[in-house]
């Protein structure tokens, strides 16, 4: 796995010597910070109104601001990932193919598996780096919440984002390996992710086996449980198998570069 580490290091270096990573991470952080403060403000406002009503008329539901903020925030995050992950992965293979550096990797003593995993883990690391600063806001919010807020919900939410993001990155990498054009790679992955997102569209009321299969395959559906703080093994396995599929397809695609006319 030395080869994998070499590829991983190279990819990380590539992300951070070019402005691409900084711009994507920067845009992501500005957007998430905006959503976070807005959501917090909105829910706190409502909580005040609720407690005011409670005082006036009695009764009324308890308002759990931290949970609501977290849940809405991670809902928004999944939408952001839909747009940002294709940009993270579009160049991963397409650029190497176009520049001919794929020939260097493929004639070096590293297996295709090491190349693919090295690149996948690098993109996953970048995703983690992107997500880390968002935890600052939550830490602050949870620290000051009264009564004590549920930390494990936050953990489950981050696990969900990581699994969802990993799935999208694995798929995006696969599409990048199919072409020499970054634009085509980005469009293909965006299209595929969007399709996987809206797969359960219109199946809510249907009951056929087909509809339930489509509903099951929709990658964002499995994410809901995580945002509610529920870690369901079947959801974890769903995402892991999707990641596995993406990695597997990418390895086949890299291997096929040898068989196609290069």
């Amino acid at each position: 796995m030395k080869g994998m580490y070499a590829v991983y290091r190279k990819e990380m270096g590539h992300y951070f010597v070019s402005p691409v990573a900084y711009i994507i991470v920067g845009v992501f952080l500005i957007l998430t910070a905006y959503f976070f403060t807005q959501l917090l403000a909105v829910y706190m406002q409502r909580a005040f109104e609720a407690s005011f009503e409670e005082g006036q008329f009695g009764g009324g539901a308890a308002f759990d601001v931290p949970s609501l903020v977290m849940r809405s925030f991670f809902g928004v995050l999944s939408t952001l990932l839909l747009f940002l992950t294709p940009m993270l992965t579009m160049s991963v293979y397409a650029e190497e193919r176009r520049r001919g550096t794929m020939e260097l990797l493929m004639t070096s003593p590293v297996t295709d598996l090491e190349i693919v995993l090295g690149k996948f883990f690098a993109s996953l690391t970048l995703l983690v780096i992107m997500l880390l600063p968002t935890a600052i806001g939550f830490a602050y919010m949870l620290h000051h919440s009264e009564p004590a807020a549920p930390w494990r919900i936050l953990g489950s939410e981050y696990l969900g984002v990581l699994l969802l993001g990993g799935t999208l990155l694995a798929l995006g990498s696969f599409f990048s390996s199919l072409t020499e054009s970054q634009l085509i790679a980005a469009m293909l992955s965006f299209g595929a992710i969007l399709l996987l997102w809206v797969l359960d569209f219109g199946t809510q009321t249907a009951t056929s086996a087909w509809a339930s299969t489509l509903e099951y395959l929709s990658v964002f559906r499995h994410y809901d449980d995580f945002t509610r703080g529920v870690i369901d093994t079947s959801n974890v396995i769903f995402y892991l198998s999707f990641i596995f599929l993406g990695v597997f397809l990418t390895i086949r695609s890299v291997d096929s570069m040898r068989w196609r006319r290069a």
Binding site: K2, G3, A6, H14, R99, T101, E103, T107, P109, A262
Partner: protein, 320 residues
């Protein structure tokens, strides 16, 4: 060190490499010579494990390039047609990455990188981004990349492309100095390069081997005798006919040369024959004014052209 047997590579619509067999001995420099599209790059890509062959076998250091691809790749340094460089890395970072991916142990990495940069004369650019370098420097970074892990076998696809004449000479010296401890295959379509650097030459055309020999042997064997250029004032047809009568003359081509009814004749002699004195005697005997008579040496270029164009049937009959 390298053994290629009946190697064939077919793509959908054509055969790029057609039953190619050759052997490269340890420490030797083998030149791969052929026009564009002859199958040089494809053969090299098969040897480096980038492409699989359709049929036939190739072994590097005793390992099959297909079955033991990783073992082969450990032992090969490869410079493809376009140097496989990452434009947004600096030279030293790039070479360190290549050393890492080629399994150079951590404690040797720095020394190997320094050594490769010194050999290719790029040490002064070590902290520059590769995208800021000129074409010649990029090519040399590509070359350094092929040397950085001190491989047993070095495969260079047109290593001097994009270099200026001084750099070409430097690179040729470098390649020559690497022989002995390394086995080298290089492809080129620049003929003097082959005669200057290579111990043996494989001339390849349309996927087939047209000739394998030392550059010196190729030149003498195929020299097609001496050619003679002749300028006389005479009737074109009469002069051609008269010279064709001389024994040892294989072919005569004539064309008008300037005014005064002068014509220029190119006389091709059969190998090993010197027909100059007979031509002179003939011309003087006919009473034609003689303006010029000189021997023209067939260069490697002519041999190459002969082998790869006119004599393709001959080459097919005698593949070696």
């Amino acid at each position: 060190m390298i053994e290629v047997k009946d190697l064939t590579k077919r793509f959908a619509e054509h055969t790029a490499v057609d039953h190619v067999s050759f052997v490269v001995n340890k420490g030797e420099i083998l030149g791969f010579l052929g026009p564009n599209g002859a199958g040089k790059t494809t053969t090299m890509r098969i040897l480096t494990g980038f492409l699989p062959a359709t049929s036939g076998t190739a072994q590097v250091a005793g390992f099959d390039v297909f079955d033991d691809s990783l073992e082969v790749r450990k032992r090969i340094g490869y410079l493809p047609e376009n140097p496989p460089i990452y434009l947004d890395m600096t030279v030293s970072v790039y070479l360190e990455f290549v050393a890492r991916i080629k399994n150079v142990p951590a404690e040797k990495r720095k020394a190997r990188v320094t050594d490769a940069m010194e050999k290719t004369n790029i040490t002064d650019k070590r902290f520059e981004l590769i995208k800021r370098l000129s074409r010649g420097y990029k090519q040399r970074v590509g070359l350094a990349q092929a040397l950085v892990h001190d491989p047993e076998v070095i495969i260079l696809d047109e290593p001097t492309v994009g270099l200026d004449p001084k750099q070409i000479i430097e690179v040729r010296h470098l390649i020559k100095s690497l022989a002995g401890s390394h086995t080298i295959i290089l492809s080129t379509h620049i003929l003097p390069e082959v005669s200057m650097t290579c111990d043996r030459v494989v001339i390849i055309n349309r996927g087939r081997i047209a000739a394998v020999d030392t550059p010196a042997n190729l030149t003498t064997q195929l020299k097609g005798g001496q050619n003679v250029r002749l300028e006389v004032a005479a009737d074109q047809n009469a002069a051609s006919a008269a010279i064709r009568e001389i024994s040892g003359v294989r072919r005569v081509t004539a064309e008008p040369a300037g005014g005064d009814g002068r014509i220029a004749l190119m006389v091709e002699a059969t190998p090993g024959q010197d027909v100059r004195s007979q031509i002179a005697a003939k011309v003087v005997g006919k009473g034609w004014p003689l303006y010029e008579l000189r021997g023209v040496n067939l260069s490697l270029e002519d041999i190459f052209l002969q082998l790869t164009t006119e004599d393709s049937e001959h080459a097919a009959a005698n593949p070696n």
